[in-house]
């Protein structure tokens, strides 16, 4: 079985993001970029399925600027076999990404697509669901455990208030939650081997998709600064303030 793993290049989770002065987005110039942590989990899961002999090939896909090739390299160093880079300078929104991935899935015919449940830059949590809908495949989102048996994948999902287990017929789309696994560190030999693995570059046009944004960003602003707290003398005063000033009880 072939597994497709989309990997997104995002601002590294350690970076303290700053909003651009003109309010159009966040500052990314000169900022450290890394693979979306949820996608690392997706790559790890795919590699484990390959190590178990269930998957035969892992294809890592990234969409965006040329530097996304570095993100693909990271996936290759973790154990993916080859890469596809859909190169574009256009701003990509979830629907465009889902359409592009669907087009790739049609030619690649993977048995499974594993992707992060969301990306830590915009936290949309939409691409996996849209992709499943476009392909007409079943989806198992927010996975904390997956098991494949024959033509079925069992996905344990993290939902509000507990865990839900669904069985899906393959091919399917799975999105990863944090607890699914702990991604490995790429080893030095694998980093070096990854340099020799192929990455194919294509354009959105070649895939017949117009990636133009369908949503408009009105403005991006920093959250309001936390105001200094106030000390109260007694519980009674606290309760009174909560009731009369904050009006929360």
């Amino acid at each position: 079985m072939k597994i497709l793993v989309p990997v997104k290049r995002v601002v590294d989770y350690n970076v303290k993001v700053r909003v651009k002065t003109d309010g159009t987005g966040v500052e990314t110039a000169g900022v450290k970029m890394s693979m979306n942590p949820f996608d690392e989990i997706a790559v790890e899961e795919a590699v484990r399925l390959k190590e178990k002999g269930i998957a035969t090939e892992i294809v890592a896909v990234s969409l965006g600027v040329a530097q996304c090739a570095e993100t693909i390299r990271t996936a290759l160093a973790m154990g993916a076999d080859r890469g596809i880079l859909v190169e574009t300078d256009a701003e990509l929104q979830p629907l465009a990404v889902a359409k592009l991935l669907a087009a790739i899935a049609k030619t690649e015919q993977p048995g499974l697509i594993i992707l992060g449940k969301q990306a830590i830059d915009d936290d949309m949590s939409a691409t996996g669901q849209m992709l499943a809908a476009l392909l007409g495949w079943p989806q198992g989102t927010f996975a904390s455990k997956v098991a494949i048996e024959g033509e079925t994948i069992t996905v344990t999902r993290e939902v509000d208030g507990g865990l839900e287990t669904v069985a899906l017929a393959l091919p399917a789309v799975v999105t990863t939650d944090l607890r699914l696994n702990e991604p490995r560190y790429a080893s030095l030999p694998n980093i070096m081997k990854a340099r020799k693995k192929p990455i194919v570059t294509m354009s959105p046009a070649e895939l017949g998709v117009d990636p133009a944004p369908r949503l408009t960003v009105v403005s991006v602003a920093e959250p309001p600064k936390r105001k200094a707290g106030a000390k109260v003398a007694s519980v009674a005063e606290l309760v009174a303030k909560l009731r009369n000033e904050a009006k929360v009880i």
Partner: protein, 595 residues
Amino acid sequence: MTTYKAPLREYRFLLQELFDVGELAKLPGYEDATPDVFEQVLEEGAKLCEEVLFPLNRSGDEEGCTFENGVVRTPKGFKEAYDLFRQGGWTALVCDPEYGGQGLPHTLQFLVEEMVSSANMSFGMYPGLSNGAYRAIWHHGSAAQKRKFLPRLVDGSWSGTMCLTEPQCGTDLGQIRTRAEPAGTDGVYKITGTKIFISAGEHDLTDNIVHLVLARIVGGPPGIRGISLFIVPKFLVKDDGGLGPRNGVRCGSIEHKMGIKASATCVINFEEAEGYLLGEAHKGMRAMFTMMNAARLGVGLQGLALGETAYQTARQYAQDRLQGRALAGDKFPDKPADPIIVHPDVRRMLLTMKAYTEGARALAAWVSLALDRAERDPDPAAREEADDFIGLMTPIIKAMLTDNAFAATNLGVQIFGGHGYIREWGMEQLVRDSRITMLYEGANGIQALDLVGRKMPMHNGRLLRRFFHPVDAWLRQRLEKPELQEFVMPVMKAFGRLQQVTALVAQKGMADPDEAGAAASEYLRAFGLVAMGYLWARIAEIALGRLGGDEALFYKGKLATARFYMARVLPETNTLFVNIAAGAKSLMELEAEAF
């Protein structure tokens, strides 16, 4: 808690802006070592250092190593971290592919070593010593010795040590008493004696430990010319590579020491232990010398690494700690006080740390690039030039970088105020850990003697010219550039005086060796400060051209630090030049009994 994130942007600046690491990939054998490989390897290495090694730094210091019945245990978590490190192939980075290594450049290895030491210097000692043993065997071993020992040292399943020091001698290895008696078979000896202070001499991280031991073959010449080098494994190694019986090597105790507490510093007793002559008989010191440069550069890097961690942590603290008001008026009137970064004195400390650490890294990168050329350049003249340059700069890097590291970590404590003195914050550990770097691999005073007594006169001053000529040319080419005057002029002046005192020290030292000895430490420091000044001038030139771009803040930081260096660090050379000129008299006239 201390803070550490690998300074990847700094690395990119050095490799791609100040120097051109792309040149390395043109050297035979380094074809794979392209700039993007550097980036990816450093990024992956950074993760391991930040997420696995760094969290064990404080706990390792608190717990230390333990010794019981000859068995040494490393602190909790070290074994697991070591396994991850070695399975990740990090012990193999710079090693020969013939023995399972990755064959990557020294320049990359040094940056990885820096990250490891910043995160956890004690941890770094174990693979560091193994790499020393690997290099000794790789350089001097027979084909059979290489086959037997190298693959396991490369994959990290065995580790190595360097056993030089004995109770009666550390610097003066001519006094070594450990003796080697021929055991009948050619090249096999029985080694007997006691070594002290042996880093990684005994521990629980690997299946076997390969000791490299300096000893005197019975009946050999006295003094330093009778010392030979031996391979002495903890467990004998069978012909099929499997482990045989325990050799006559025992750990007698471990030291309780000021810092690097998670690195086991051992007394190792050899009792008729089976040892194999490495290289030629009585030429052990010469064999050691071939590895000395890389080892000493490595120690310099340990220093700079700790300076980096101290700087990162102090920088954060200075932004957060609210104390006192800016002298020129409140900067943050809505807060109870201003962050201490507003105070000139705190800035003085932070900028000193930044100037030392980034200048040190530039110096180390310059030399490590030469190390790669010295090994791989097909042109013998280029190899010789690189070799000369490394020989000259190694004692400077070892001594100045470690002196500065102690100063920088100490400033880190100062910026933390009373909290710097409290263990919990981790700042005092950095001071303690950094202190050893000034002592081992040749105490810093010995480095200064090496510079003045050996490197300076070598080949009629040829080594000096490898530094003086290119620096002179660079400065001269910029005399007419007004925007660079504030950098070029002070460096030019100090550089000129350095050349003058060089002649003075050479001349006075020739007539009276005590004169050379008296000037040595200050000469080394002056040399180092000038070399770093030259690099800060080069950095300023680059930064000036990039202030308008996306990363203006980064380059402003470079430029301001270069200015600080010229105004407040380089002038230290003035005092040093005066001291050098003062000569030996005021040091030597007092008789020892009068102290």
